[in-house]
């Protein structure tokens, strides 16, 4: 395995990581291993879902968001705020106040991300009518990447329409261009509830380039806003607020909020393992007559986003309350409709094959067969003491020359019992996986 410790949207901080292996156990593509006492990521397999970040007890995973200061590189600083951000606060904090604090923190304009949802919905329905069914939503970037890596045969089901955030960003770019403002003066920033959206902005799929100039971490930004609110610092109100949103838009990032707008038979599925289960049967062609699938990596969708600090059910509840007070259509819908269809399309999404054994089929078959034999030797408890997430994964690593049979603590004990392995050797192996320092402790 390569020693690269980064993918596009997250990285492991080697000096903080204690190699506890929690992340390795939750990775849906088994892209993590522990070696030399540190977690390492197989960048090609990482889908930026951030499950590792969610579980890490040591905060050793860094989100590759942008430095906040860089907003000052632009004269016009627009922050695109997702509806889930307002739901980070309890319902007593007024939205107006939040907008003004955002201005105080350095932005010149705020805009509600899901403003483009109303015009997008028409495009989606048009698309679904003419496409191969079921159409899979392109909303959640972690799901797009999951399909690219684990379900390559389904990539053509992914809707080739941009998600709301990109349409809103394009709208802004266009709006400022029309006002004669030079492109270099406009900085569009997105407040993200997750790592996947960072990946989507930095390395988009479908032959697209995002006009978004930077991504701000919602968890970090919440703290900044809440501090101003709590300390009752003076707020000048020098910000242009574009908070136009329909109830549809507010609910879009919640579970069922997208599928509710699509005609025909639709399903909304949230949570990574639920989505994987469903994609397995979809791939087997066991699903018939479904027109549209809303698939979201997080339980409760973006209300359960990795950078959303509040309890996901309370967050979703707040979003529903907000939606109940909002109109069915908002004032800018017509304006958006006028040009959405010109910018909404993207190209086909390419699969990202996960080479498990070898590109050459003969070699792959030989390695796989050997791995299956090895698998029989291991205890099948998936204890992770070998630095791999499962006995099966260890067998794969061994045939690829990335680990060794003695990495298995059970086999090692067996060899020691038989007198075939010396204690010193056994210790060395443990140190190679879990790091030297772990075995130098004075008790």
């Amino acid at each position: 395995m390569s020693r690269t410790t980064y993918s596009r949207a997250l990285e492991i901080l080697d000096d903080v990581c204690i190699g506890c292996s929690h992340c390795m156990k939750v990775c849906p593509t088994e892209a993590l291993r522990v070696s030399d006492g540190k977690a390492i990521i197989h960048a090609d397999w990482c889908i930026d879902c951030g499950e590792c970040y969610r579980i890490c007890p040591n905060r050793a995973i860094r989100v590759m968001d942008d430095d906040f200061k860089q907003i000052y590189n632009y004269k016009h600083r627009v922050l695109l705020v997702p509806s889930v951000f307002f739901a980070q606060f309890d319902d007593s904090v007024p939205r107006e106040k939040i907008y003004h604090i955002i201005g105080e923190l350095g932005f010149t304009e705020v805009c509600a991300v899901e403003q483009s949802v109303d015009s997008l919905t028409d495009e989606v329905n048009e698309y679904v009518r003419n496409a191969q069914k079921p159409v899979i939503s392109s909303f959640c970037p972690a799901i797009i990447r999951l399909i690219q890596v684990r379900f390559p045969s389904l990539v053509d089901h992914i809707m080739q329409l941009l998600p709301p955030i990109e349409i809103t960003a394009q709208y802004y770019k266009n709006k400022f261009a029309k006002a004669g403002i030079p492109e270099s003066d406009l900085g569009i920033f997105y407040l993200t509830p997750c790592i996947a959206k960072i990946a989507a902005v930095k390395s988009p799929v479908g032959g697209y380039t995002s006009p978004i100039n930077g991504v701000i971490n919602m968890d970090f930004f919440f703290n900044k806003v809440y501090l101003v609110y709590k300390q009752r610092l003076p707020v000048s109100g020098n910000i242009s607020i574009n908070g136009e949103l329909s109830s549809k838009g507010i609910l879009y990032p919640t579970t069922g909020g997208e599928s509710a707008n699509v005609e025909g038979r639709t399903l909304a599925i949230d949570g990574m393992s639920n989505v994987i289960d469903f994609l397995e049967i979809l791939e087997n062609e066991e699903i018939d007559g479904v027109d549209f699938l809303e698939l979201r990596a997080c339980d409760q969708s973006c209300a359960g986003g990795i950078l959303s600090h509040r309890n996901r059910f309370l967050t979703a509840e707040s979003m529903k309350k907000y939606a109940a007070t909002a109109p069915d259509y908002h004032k800018l819908t017509l304006d958006y409709q006028r040009y959405t269809s010109a910018v909404v399309h993207m190209d086909r999404i390419e699969p990202r094959s996960m080479v498990k054994y070898d590109r050459d089929i003969d070699a792959a078959l030989r390695k796989m067969e050997r791995a299956r034999e090895l698998r029989e030797l291991f205890p099948g408890i998936d204890c992770g003491a070998c630095g791999a997430p499962s006995c099966e994964a260890l067998a794969e690593d061994i045939v690829k020359g990335q680990s060794e049979i003695n990495a298995c603590i059970f086999l090692r004990t067996l060899y020691e019992k038989r007198g075939e392995l010396q204690l010193e050797e056994a210790i060395k192996i443990m140190e190679r996986i879990w790091g030297r320092s772990r075995f130098d402790k004075k008790l």
């Binding site: 045969s153 791939e283 087997n284 792959a364 796989m368 067969e369 299956r372």
Partner: protein, 137 residues
Amino acid sequence: MKLEYKVEGGDFTAAGFASSQIKKILKQLNIDPSVIKRVVIALYEAEVNIVAHAYRGVIKAHIESGGITLTLEDEGPGIPDVEMAMTPGFSTATKAVREMGFGAGMGLPNISENADSFNIETIVGKGTTLTIGIKFK
């Protein structure tokens, strides 16, 4: 590589196990997704046929670099008229089986359509053996 799976008659909830295992392996071998799809459909239909129409059976898969050969051997009633059984829409499935979403009479025709080679050997009162070959390229 050779693999083997057992199938029990009447156990609809377990039907599909062999095909999902084979699917996983073929994906790990980076076989063309459209080929995998054909293998999965053919094997799944054949597996369900053992569950729906026979008493028990064994599925053997032989994977080589050129393709996969599937042999499904069952103990069961056999098929009295193979030509008839191969006709799209023909089915002897009971009402109960149909209500479970099986028995549309498209299984055998689907298998034959997705296979590069397909053979049925059957002895009435004894059992049926299907041989399905699908090339990887």
